[in-house]
């Protein structure tokens, strides 16, 4: 079978999976869920990794390094932030003092 047909079949099926998964989510989890799915589309980093070996010329290499860096920020930042948010929901034990301090002092920098 044509590779494109397979790819599109995968695309459609994945769409249904995504649709089904989200059909019922409590309001309170909307933010962490958005953040979590946000981390997942950081998968684009694979595109950068795949193309690096084939790239030629300084411009292409610079673009790909930036793309990989962007994708990595998306993945790592996304998962960590989601984890921090979800830990808050558990919060049965008192938060560690140094963490709270860091949370207060840290600014909204990127």
């Amino acid at each position: 079978m044509d590779r494109l047909v397979i790819d599109i079949a995968v695309l459609v099926l994945a769409g249904f999976v995504g649709y089904t998964v989200i059909s019922k989510v409590p309001n309170t989890l909307h933010t962490p869920l958005m953040s979590g799915t946000n981390a997942i589309h950081g998968i684009v980093v694979l595109g950068g990794l795949l193309l690096m070996a084939e790239s030629s010329g300084a411009l292409e290499k610079v673009l790909l390094v930036i793309a990989i860096a962007f994708g990595t920020i998306n993945v790592i930042g996304g998962f960590l932030v989601t984890d921090r948010m979800l830990e808050m929901f558990k919060a049965k034990e008192p938060p560690k003092p140094e963490e709270t301090k860091a949370a207060i002092e840290g600014d909204g920098k990127r």
Binding site: A14, G15, P32, V65, A69, I76, G77, M88, I104, G108
Partner: protein, 475 residues
């Protein structure tokens, strides 16, 4: 590598890919329930790590002498920026953090498309790959710039109010930009080979479009916009996956695309708004019109002092605290927790009224109060707390505005008419803690402030709450 080993290698990588997307899907399923969410997120992260490792294990991955350290450089830079950003961000700044993480994802898609264009277009690259690659470039670029604007608005670098061109010219401009991008894409697919056309017609046009689409949207709608852009980035990642024939990218991107779309709808529903109405310009048009009878000159407000509030609260049987984003900005959640403890020591029953979109994202307020150790069972959802207001002696509104605005119920002409609100005006007395008389994030005046039973305590929320707590303890 001998052919046999190569076959084993390829199969092993395919197997790892399959494991990766199973983990991604399974992890995301976990994210939808409160008990499984933490684990779900970690499982998805492991899936992602496996996908990256599998890709690095490919034969020829490190073809060329500089490749490996360039890849390492990208990964190190990304890690060095991503980890501290995610660790240090304040819980209040979470929405803009998600926006910027989403933006860089979109940016990565656009840059990858650019390299693909330079590298492969016009040289026997199949047309279908070109189509998907260009779709990814346009949507990724829109997402990158749109997310940056959303970040700017939430971080208050840019004004939260809608910024738009008068009348229908905004829509016309956006449509024009979209046509330029699509037209350029068609031309490039038809065989025109010009990098200038790719940069200007695709990347720049989509960039301007991303700016133009998000600028007119009011700050209050920003969470929905971020969710929408999140879905966009997912779709563009999936498109890149098709162009590169990489199944994990297709699966992961498409799941985000589909779930993000549904999530956007759910969030819009919680605010009683429709996604097309939000994208068409938020509260922009409505704010310009006179906002019903409680205009700027609509009445007088009564201000009060911390000591008076302390007396009011201490002699109440039931107090409901309605926190909003203002509380979060002032970092007052810990002070609020102290007040709640002081009141409970006096035998006052304290509850928290949580509007579904309190803060700047659904669930944001729960996160903030959980951070301050407020017991989870004191947090009451809107539907649960609204019948309680008539039985409540004093409601303390801390930095919330639009979600308590009775105009949403009483004034059909109000731009937020129909939005479900916390019916704080039903309680015996209302005390509103506010920085100033400025209107809320939606830019709409609030008749609650002019209600005779409402008194206002101006000042920084954290300081005000601490003062009230001190007075309560002194009584």
């Amino acid at each position: 590598m001998t052919p046999v080993l190569a076959v084993i290698g390829t199969n092993a990588i395919d197997a790892l890919y399959i494991v990766a997307f199973i983990l991604l899907i399974y992890g995301m399923t976990g994210l939808t329930g409160p008990r499984t969410a933490v684990r779900g997120n970690k499982i998805a992260a492991v899936g992602m790590a496996i996908a990256v490792i599998a890709t690095l294990l490919r034969d020829h991955e490190f073809h060329g002498s500089s490749t490996w350290w360039l890849i390492l450089l990208g990964l190190v830079i990304g890690t060095a920026i991503g980890i501290p950003a995610a660790r240090n961000v304040r819980m209040t700044a979470m929405p803009q953090m998600v926006a910027i993480f989403n933006g860089v994802g979109g940016g990565a898609v656009a840059l990858i498309a650019w390299v693909e264009y330079r590298h492969a277009f016009g040289g026997g690259y199949p047309l279908r790959s070109e189509i998907f690659e260009l779709f990814g470039a346009i949507v990724g670029s829109i997402s990158f710039w749109g997310s940056n604007i959303a970040f700017g608005k939430l971080q208050e670098i840019l004004p939260g109010r809608p910024i738009k061109l008068p009348g229908a010219s905004q829509t016309a401009l956006n449509l024009g930009l979209l046509l330029i991008a699509v037209g350029s894409a068609v031309a490039l697919c038809a065989g025109v080979h010009s990098q200038a056309l790719f940069i200007l017609g695709i990347l720049v046009a989509a960039a301007v479009l991303g700016n133009m689409v998000v600028l007119p949207i009011g700050g209050a709608d920003m969470p929905v916009v971020i969710s929408l852009l999140n879905a966009f980035t997912g779709l563009s990642a999936a498109a890149t996956g098709v162009a590169l024939s990489n199944p994990v990218m297709i699966v992961a991107g498409m799941i985000v695309g589909a779930s993000g779309t549904i999530l956007t709808n759910l969030m819009a529903q919680a605010m009683n708004r429709s996604v097309p109405a939000i994208v068409a310009g938020g509260f922009g048009g409505a704010v310009a019109a006179p906002a019903g009878r409680a205009g700027a000159e609509g009445g007088t407000v009564r201000s009060t002092t911390p000591a008076d509030v302390a007396i009011q609260l201490s002699y109440a049987r039931q107090v409901v605290i309605a926190p909003g984003y203002g509380m979060a900005v002032a970092q007052a959640q810990h002070a609020v927790r102290e007040l709640e403890k002081a009141l409970e020591a006096k035998g006052v029953e304290v509850k928290f009224a949580i509007h579904p979109v309190a803060g700047r994202m659904p669930g944001h307020m729960n996160v903030l109060l959980a951070e301050a150790d407020v017991p989870y069972d004191l947090l009451k959802e809107m539907d649960e707390i609204n019948p309680e207001f008539p039985r409540t002696d004093v409601t303390l509104v801390i930095g919330a505005n639009d979600v308590t605005n009775p105009a949403a119920k009483n004034e059909p002409g109000s731009p937020i008419y129909g939005m479900p609100i916390l019916e704080v005006d039903q309680s015996g007395a209302v005390v509103v803690l506010k920085r100033s008389m400025a209107s809320g994030f939606a830019g709409i005046d609030n008749p609650l402030f002019y209600d005779p039973k409402t008194s206002l305590l101006f000042g920084d929320a954290k300081q005000s709450v601490s003062e009230i707590t001190a007075e309560v303890e002194a009584l």
